[in-house]
């Protein structure tokens, strides 16, 4: 199967699911949509090398092993989310399908316009759904900021290719536009505002499209886009994304320690995305990619558990999920953050300090989250017992994260292929 076929399956299954599942009163089976996408991505022919937006044909699509691993992890995460959440509305399934298809196209297209247009489409799908679900200042900001980020990326493509332009304002403008657009889609601009606002206004599967589908795709694009820039462009890109990433990580690490239980995980996620983005700006591509992908995979497993509203019948998986995000070995978050720290510590002592501060704050936030989950167990004791499928999905997510932490090298090779 071609990557375009996998994207068609994501979109087709999402739209068909949105139409038929509610009509047939089978909304509980919405998890079949990402499951079909998972199988489609698994069947795509994988090519060696890395897909870069340097081709002149809009019809050029290639999927590499790392991309396949990330897309499959994303689909599994959506499956877990749909099982753990109350039955999703048709519109949620449609949004997941469109954003999933856009993520596949963005990560596999070798043409810069198609790649950036796919990211813009994903942002627009998320924004429109968030605005329709909860119209207000915060969700409209998702439309304004995220779509503006996508539009900035599209504008940047007009200045490409710049690999051979070694001086002058053109590589600076192109890389600044790329960094600004990607930082916006990653929720770093303005310091995580629009993404956090949406995730705090919405719960569960309603908020899941950005953290589970769009943000991982944008992160992988940000890790690779530097490869098409000249040295001057790489420096500009690095400065912008390093600064935005560290500011976001420090701010949301601090806010995560003060947040209410319902909003803590969203801040931890945005802070970790900030750290992963900052590492991209450190210039150590290998460490940034390995650490960022490991950390985002850890979140892809934990987000379905922790994005659920507090007060779930069984709090034990939630408590364990918080501990797995603490950054203490053998939690998978430790390995991800350790690799990011290794890359960032080589920039300067100041950057090292600004990296250690949010990591410490995230540890405190995770401990507070685990304590809150323990208290929530007492409050939720009167709630009806959890359905076995939900309980199994929650424990499967936690078990997967534990396995990732214990067998980190094997897990990374299993998901993303040998590197």
């Amino acid at each position: 199967m071609s990557p375009l076929g996998a994207a068609a399956v994501w979109a087709g299954a999402g739209i068909a699911g949105a139409v038929f599942l509610p009509a047939l009163r089978l909304r509980r089976l919405a998890a079949l949509v990402p499951l079909l996408a998972f199988v489609a991505v698994l069947l795509v022919s994988v090519l060696p090398g890395v897909t870069l937006p340097t081709d002149t044909s809009p019809g050029a699509f290639h999927m590499d092993r790392t991309t396949q691993g990330l897309l499959m992890a994303s689909a599994v995460s959506v499956v877990l989310m749909l099982i753990l959440s109350p039955p999703a509305a048709g519109a949620e399934v449609r949004t997941l399908g469109i954003a999933g298809a856009a993520a596949v196209v963005a990560l596999t297209s070798a043409h810069p316009v198609v790649m950036t247009l796919a990211l813009l489409t994903a942002a627009a799908a998320v924004a429109l759904r968030w605005i329709a679900r909860a119209p207000g200042h915060t969700t409209l900001a998702a439309g304004r900021v995220a779509i503006a980020g996508g539009a900035i990326l599209v504008a940047a493509t007009a200045f490409l290719p710049v690999a051979d332009v070694l001086a002058g304002p053109r590589p600076v403008v192109a890389s600044a536009l790329l960094a600004g657009g990607l930082a916006t889609l990653l929720g770093l601009l303005p310091v995580g505002g629009w993404a956090l606002g949406g995730m705090l206004r919405l719960r569960g599967v309603e908020a899941a499209v950005w953290p589970l589908v769009v943000a991982p795709a944008a992160l992988l694009v940000a890790q690779r886009i530097q490869l098409i820039l000249p040295p001057l462009g790489v420096a500009t890109f690095g400065h912008v994304i390093l600064t935005m990433g560290l500011l976001t990580a420090v701010w949301h690490g601090f806010q995560a320690t003060r947040a209410a239980p319902g909003g803590r995980y969203a801040r931890v996620l945005v802070a970790d995305l900030g750290l992963a983005a900052a590492a991209i700006g450190s210039g150590h591509t290998g460490l940034a990619q390995a650490g960022g992908l490991f950390l985002i995979t850890c979140h892809l497993l934990m987000a379905p558990v922790l994005l659920q509203p507090p007060g779930q019948p069984d709090q034990r998986p939630r408590r364990l999920a918080w501990l797995l995000l603490s950054g203490v070995p053998p939690a998978p978050s430790f390995w991800g953050r350790f690799l990011l720290l290794e890359g960032l510590s080589q920039v300067s002592a100041t950057v090292l300090t600004f990296t250690l501060v949010p990591m410490g704050l995230l540890f405190v936030a995770s401990v507070l989250g685990a304590r809150g989950a323990a208290a929530g167990r007492v409050q939720a004791s009167d709630a009806p017992p959890a359905r076995p499928a939900r309980l199994a999905a929650a424990w499967a997510a936690v078990a997967g994260a534990v396995a990732m932490g214990l067998f980190s090298t094997t897990a990374a090779a299993f998901i993303f292929g040998p590197t």
Partner: protein, 212 residues
């Protein structure tokens, strides 16, 4: 006889001003038509008259998509729809309202677009400089409209403007993939018109009265 560059720039600026200030349920259609008309002379000067057909095609597709989306949405059963014209967080009509903010943004975009036009060369094979002012100005005004948007219609207009601006920039960029790239970017305009028309059509329907 060549075409005077100040005239092409003036056409682009007028188009951008119309597009950034227009409101109402036909705002996307008007913006798309104005921008296509305003940028066509610049594109024709830079890349030849046939290149302007990309923008004209996008504008035509935008008009058709907007009306088709509206008509199609009206034929479907009623659901509670999102009104693209209702501001999400403030009153729609007030003195110094959204139009004045956009007008200030459009004014501030002039130096930005001018700097980009005269300092940043563009081109995949051979570079050009100094002819991009109307293109950069349309894109900057679209970005302003996006950033200060208070309704979904504002966002749709902003997307259409930035899409048309980026398509014109792709044409100026040249290269072997000039038309395919520009056409792909220009799709944003009809897509925005379709979305706005669809939402307007869905919202415009009223539920059937309850049987007594």
């Amino acid at each position: 006889m060549g075409i005077a560059e100040p005239l092409t720039s003036t056409a682009g600026v007028l188009a951008a001003v119309i597009a950034v200030l227009v409101d109402g349920r036909n705002a996307v259609t008007i913006a798309v038509l104005a921008v296509a008309a305003g940028l066509a002379p610049t594109v024709a000067v830079v890349a030849g008259a046939p290149a302007a057909l990309v923008l004209a095609g996008a504008a035509l597709a935008g008009v058709v998509a907007g009306h088709s989306g509206r008509a199609l949405a009206r034929r479907l059963p009623w659901v509670a729809g999102l009104d693209p014209l209702i501001p999400a967080f403030s009153a729609s009509r007030r003195l110094f309202g959204p139009r004045s903010v956009r007008a200030w943004g459009a004014a501030l975009s002039v130096p930005a677009a001018s700097w980009v036009s005269f300092n940043v060369p563009i081109g995949a094979v051979t570079t050009v400089k100094g002819v991009l002012f109307p293109v950069a100005y349309v894109w900057a005004c679209g970005a302003v409209r996006l950033v200060v948007a208070r309704t979904v219609e504002d966002i749709a207009v902003g997307v259409a403007m930035t899409g048309m601006g980026a398509a014109a920039a792709w044409i100026a960029r040249g290269g072997p993939d000039v038309y395919s790239g520009a056409a792909v970017v220009a799709v944003l305009a009809p897509a925005a018109a379709l979305t706005a028309g669809w939402l307007w059509g869905r919202h415009g329907r009223r539920p059937a009265p309850e049987p007594q």
